[in-house]
Structures are given as C-alpha cells and as structure tokens.
Amino acid sequence: MTRPLAILFAWTMALGAALFLLAPLMVIAAASFSPTPVFDLPVGGASLRWYARIGQMDGFWPALSLSLQIAALSTALALALGTLAAIAIAQGRLPGAEAIGTFLVSPLMMPGLVLGIALLQYFRAMGFSAAWSALLLAHLVVTLPYVARTMIAGLSRFDFTLVEAARTLGCTYPGAILKVMVPALAPSFLTAGLFAFLASFDNYPVSIFLTDVRTKTLPIKMLQYIEEAPDPTLAALSTLILGATVILLVASDRLVGLHRMAGTGQ
C-alpha cells in the first residue's frame, strides 16, 4: 500500500472507531430532547420536558445524594490510603513490595458480581448490616485499586533528584517535598481521584448486593426506574451525567493536561 493510502486507511479506521464508541451517547443525548414519551429521535421539534421531570422522579434526590456521598468519601479515603501505600511500595525498601502492589490492584481484575457476592457474604457473616457503611467499605475496595495503580506508577516515575535539586536551591527537606514532589504528583493524584470517583459513582454490580429499600445508589435507582416507566427522563439524566463528566475532564485537562494524566506525555 502506498503511504497516502495507508494514512487514509488509518484515519478512516480511527474515525470509524470513534463514531462507533460515541454513537450510543449521541443517540441518548438526542433522545433526551424527544417531545414524545418513547425513546425516539426528536424529529418533530425538541423539548426539554424530560429534563424538567428528572427532579420529580420517585426517590431521585436521595439516590443522587447517596451516590455522591459514597463516591466522594470512598475516593477521599482511597486517595489517602492508596497514596501512603504507594509511597511505601515505590520506595522499594519494603520486603515483597511488588506482591503487595499486585494484591492492592487485584480487585480491578475481579468481576464486580463476584466481589459483590463475596462482600455480602462477608458482611453477613460478621453481622454487619448497616447498608450505608457496607456500601462505603465496598466502594473503598472498588476505588482503592485505581488510586494504588496510578500513584505507584506516578511515584515510580518520580525522580528523587528533583528533591535534592530543590534542597541545593535553598529548600529545607520538608519544603522540597512540598514544593517539588507534591506538584509533580498532582496529575497522578487528580487522575487517581477522577477514576476512583467515576468508578464508584457508576458502580452497579457491587452495589446491588449491598443496598436495601431505603439505601439505593443512583445507577440502581435508574435501572429500577427503566423497568417501571421507560420514558426519556432517563435519557435526560444520562445526558446530564455525561455533560458533568465532560466538564470534569475538561477542567482537569486545563489544570494539568490530559496527556500527563494518561501518562503518555513526557
């Protein structure tokens, strides 16, 4: 194949893949503006009526608030614990550091359903029945691997001569850590937090085993709702969540640069 043809081919494939990935999202977004109560494309004029109905959904606000609480808290805890663990592991003086690192990350490779059932059994056996706390603990198990993985990678790439350079330039040791190590790890920190938060916020398979009648997270509530009354309200809600995620990503990109977050840049 000649070079221009190859380039054309590559671009076609890339665009095709992007389209394939984005098409469902675009359809959902389009359907959310549908004027009729079926999932339909808004051909005869757009309407915002489904957006107005989101707030009136039965049990929407408690579910949203629960999901946000659990996601925020589990992310914060995972960031603290995961970072400390990553420091211990990345410094390499811990015997079996690598095994511990793999162990911390292992829940990522486990199907959520298995994790959910296992945690349910475990909490039952312990006689632990508070749904809220059980959810938080379970989500900590879900979010910790994201933080541990990202922070271990970030720290292992961190060049400790930067700290020495800062010291020769007039920083005390704690000052050098604060001025050099913390900002250099900020992208990792942000990435870890972002992934952890999203992983918790849209987790369904683990949460489903640990909720009770009063304690339902948003994804569970949404699935329940679609079984009861499938109308474009859910499409509207999904579009809002999508929008919020995009805003979050763009803000992070502005802050530290997505290429640095993805670890692909220099």
Partner: protein, 363 residues
Amino acid sequence: MSQEPIDAASHLVVRQASKRYGATTVLDRVDLAIRRGELVTLLGPSGCGKTTLLRLIAGLALPDAGTVAIAGRDVTRVPPHRRNVGVVFQNYALFPHLSVAGNVAFGLTVRRRPKADIARAVDKALALVHLDHLAARPISALSGGQQQRVALARALAVEPDVLLFDEALSALDRKLREEMQGEMRRILRDINATAIFVTHDQDEALTMSDRVAVMNGGRIEQLAEPRLIYQRPASLFTLNFVGLSTRISGTVVACDGGIVQVDTKVGRLAATGRFLAGSQVVVATRPEHLRPAAGATGNAVSGRVRAVVFQGSRSLVEVGAGGETLLAELPGQEAALLAPDAEIRLAWPVSETFAFPAPEMAA
C-alpha cells in the same frame, strides 16, 4: 600524591574526607583545594567516587571523616539549603511542573526575594545562557541542550559560592557538547565562579579546566594543570587514563642523577625517574615524541609496522617490536609512505621518557 599545600586563599577546601557505604570505601581521605574563580574537573572511571565527592560538597551526603570548608567557613555539618552551592545534575533535574522562567526563579522564590528582583535576576540568568526567548516555555518542550542551559541558569540565578556540575554535558551529542564547553567556560569566567566539573571524558577535562583532578578508587591521584597531567603524569593510572602512550615493562639496571637505565624486551632504554637497581618498572612516553630515525640519540627501537590509523592531519602508527607495542603519532604524509609490515626504526628523547613502578601482580 595529592598532598598539595592548602593555602589560605583557597575558596573551597576538602580535607581528608572519607566516605564508606557498608563495606566499600567510596572516598578515601580526599584532599582538594580550589581557588576562587577556578574551574577544576574531576576525571576518573565510573564508580571512582566523583559523584559522591560532589554530594559531600553540596551537603547532600555527610562525610564519615574529614571536613568541607567554603570561603573559610566549615560547612561539614551545614545542610544543603544553607550552603549556597549550586548543582547542575547529570539528568538536569528540572522541575516539570514549572516553566523555564519558573525553574530559574525557584531558588529566589524560596529565598522570598521581592518580585521585581526575581524577574530581573531571571532575565539576567536566561540572557547569560542565551535563552531569554524561551522563558515561558514548559520544560517538556525543550531540547537536551536547552534543558542543560536552563539547569545552568537555575543554578546561576541564586549566585552560588560554588558551582558543581555532575557530567552535565554527557547527554549531549558531540557537536553540541563542544559548543556548550565553550559557552560554560565563558559564563563561568564572566561570573568568576568557583566550579567543579565532573566528567569521564578526558578531552572535556583537558580543554575546559584550569586544573584537572584525576580520581581513582576513591582517591585523587593527581591534581594539576591539564598540560602537566598530560605531559608529566604522576602515576601509571593517570598516564593510562589520559591520552595514549607507549608502555614497555622492564628491570632497572642502573640509576644516575634521576635517569634510570632499564633493560626491556626491546633493548636498553633510558628514562627519567629514581629507582633502585633491580626494580620492576614501566617505561612510558607519549606518541607524539616518537619519530622515524636512522641513528638518533636517545631511545631507539626497531620494529615492524602493524597498523596505520588515519586521523585526519595526523596518523597513529602501531609498531610491533619484541612482543611490545609502540605508538607513534606521525604527520599524514609521513605515515602514508608506511606499508604494513615495513621495517621501521623509532627514536624519542630521554627527557620525554618516564619510569613508573610496575603495577603489583594481582595475587
């Protein structure tokens, strides 16, 4: 051999500094005295302790014994942030989250200088390294040579008493390195900085420095001007490490007035040195002293041409004689006439021939 008198005018003085890591002695009673504004290179093989010595001077490591003094002040126990020693690290260690200007301003910001002063100092430092046009760039968007200059500007901006360079040029390609050598020399002269430059590139050491310290196994073998290091090496190690040489081992048969007569496999040779008769020695000279000659005075050896290595205006001729190898550097036209395996007689003056104690046989 490094027992230089330590004069009061010295700006940086390291005295009897030792450092061990576990069972290995990395620095062994090192003495080093450097005048203000002088550029000294530390030249030595990998692992001889160059970086460790710099770290002691910068305060990033503590000596087990000995002292470090800067401008008459004993700083042995002073932490790095209160030493005012600038370091340019081998990998530059630039702060990735700051721009070029941010990196250069770092030391001044830490010192809480007024904003206007910082801006002025940053401009000045960047102008010195010809990077004023890149102040706003992120570090990741710089070439290796530019990063190196930012690292230099960052170290210069705080006006350090002493500047240390750890193989600062080794990551650059040859052409850029040579350019930077000249630049650095100019900049260091301009600001009259006392500087130590670590390298294991002998050309860099010889061209850049006021004096060269040849290090080996945690000791400084010789500290002298580049010309002396090359022409009057104090030890076999220095002779080997810096430049090319012909080395022939033999036994001293007579010693008279600083000239020894040595019996070797290629006949009797005379050399400067003082040894007892019967000592095992190595007789050495530099390639440029060897000349094709019929019946010259001084040392002369006949042999056969083994190889001629073309090096531009001059050629290096390898001559085999009685199991030994002689290296002669000859002008291109002269060398061009030499056919491989041709008979040749080489002669060189006794005054350029040196005898060193033979290295002890490995037990």
